[in-house]
Symmetry: C2
Subunit: 237 residues, 2 copies
């Protein structure tokens, strides 16, 4: 359960990306914490006392149903805050897990629980993060409700390519994809068998290439057309 970090340039912990927001967030990081791939960062029901900015690696939010079904509700990339809502509401209604070895920056709850008492620059940064999170959730709802499996997967790939590129972690066409097919299934509300078949369809039709956790988009325009992808919801301003 380790190794994943090896694929990335060995620890070039360049404090992630541009986005003036990041500076405001980083100023408030009091401690860094490393967590292992596939370990749990936050458990549903916890009352967290620190929020975590993701500095390196990927994490995801999810909820389990009593019978074991799982739904992943967000995928987080460097620069994202894993558990802002949980800290602000005082209780987590979702869990957070690590998809890779990660480095997290801890922000004390006191600094954010009341958004009006401190650093206005950071308050604005948190608002923007939060608004973008919401925009992504809405897009995922559309994806889940009104697109078929091929469109869903294509759409997710387009979104991740975009988000990773915007933090300098994807070239124009290639990026690291650390999701297993079974995790992909739990993101998109499908079964892992079906994910497998659709991924192969995407490969056979020459749209993507996927090996060793590196996903390469061979025909960006066509994939975005298949997906019905419009990145406007990700726009950063």
């Amino acid at each position: 359960m380790a190794t994943q970090t090896a694929d990335l340039k060995p620890f070039d912990a360049r404090p992630p990306p541009r986005l003036g927001d990041m500076e405001a967030l980083l100023r408030t990081v009091v401690r860094r914490r490393a967590v292992k791939s596939r370990s749990q960062v936050l458990r549903e029901g916890d009352k967290p006392r620190v929020a975590h900015v993701l500095l390196h690696g990927h994490t995801f939010r999810y909820r389990m149903l009593v019978d074991g079904r799982r739904q992943i509700t967000a995928i987080l990339v460097p620069g994202d805050v894993c558990d802002l809502e949980a800290v602000m509401r005082g209780r987590a209604d979702y869990s957070v897990g690590a998809l890779t070895d990660c480095i997290l920056g801890e922000i004390p709850a006191e600094r954010i629980a009341d958004p009006t008492t401190h650093d206005p620059e950071m308050t604005r940064a948190l608002w923007r993060r939060s608004l973008r999170d919401q925009a992504i959730s809405r897009e995922w709802l559309v994806n889940m409700g009104r697109r078929d499996a091929l469109e869903k997967i294509s759409n997710l790939i387009c979104e991740l390519r975009f988000r990773l590129a915007s933090v300098g972690l994807a070239s124009d066409i290639a990026f690291q994809l650390h999701l297993t097919q079974s995790e992909l299934a739990d993101v998109l509300g499908l079964s892992c068998v079906h994910i497998n078949r659709v991924l192969q369809q995407l490969r056979r039709s020459g749209l993507i290439q996927l090996s060793d956790g590196t996903l390469t988009v061979l025909d960006v325009a066509l994939l975005e057309a298949v997906a019905g992808f419009d990145p406007i919801y990700l726009r950063l301003a």
Copy 2:
């Protein structure tokens, strides 16, 4: 395209519910606006200059795909802010429509666009609204991805009952449901034919009763069990 308001007590515009938050919001309302049932409050792509607090009636957020598919991403009840994110981001990436005749309170963008410059009480109120919105979106994602049609509908009914009760618009068991079956379908990612069949199944099994837009839950505990409903995500604090 009118009439809907008639079912409600003829205009007892009691400024909705408890929730100290409401007071902070209401203080900033500069104008009230009435809109007709089924009319559009906000169009995707608009750059809105006012936000709208819903004072009376129901609205919904949605997105259309180019081929006409529609996904409803939120149902809004009195006390909710229809378009906060659109105002704060400067551009709407969703549309808002009215399910009934509504009364909206307008809040100027200047009062909220920068959350750090004004009334801290209202900033906190907006944060709480926003966090709750997000919690609901997450729950909807779980619903869409990992529950079958019967569970989805049951869950939505439980949620609406809860939210309406918390603003004094539902008795323990009954409330007004202003969604057509086709709109329900676009909330849950199903076809309206299937919605119809599952609703009848719920009626035949004595769980709900539905006539003239009044939905009565005949067996609350059983319905919540069927739905796998846990209201903790709606908790207001």
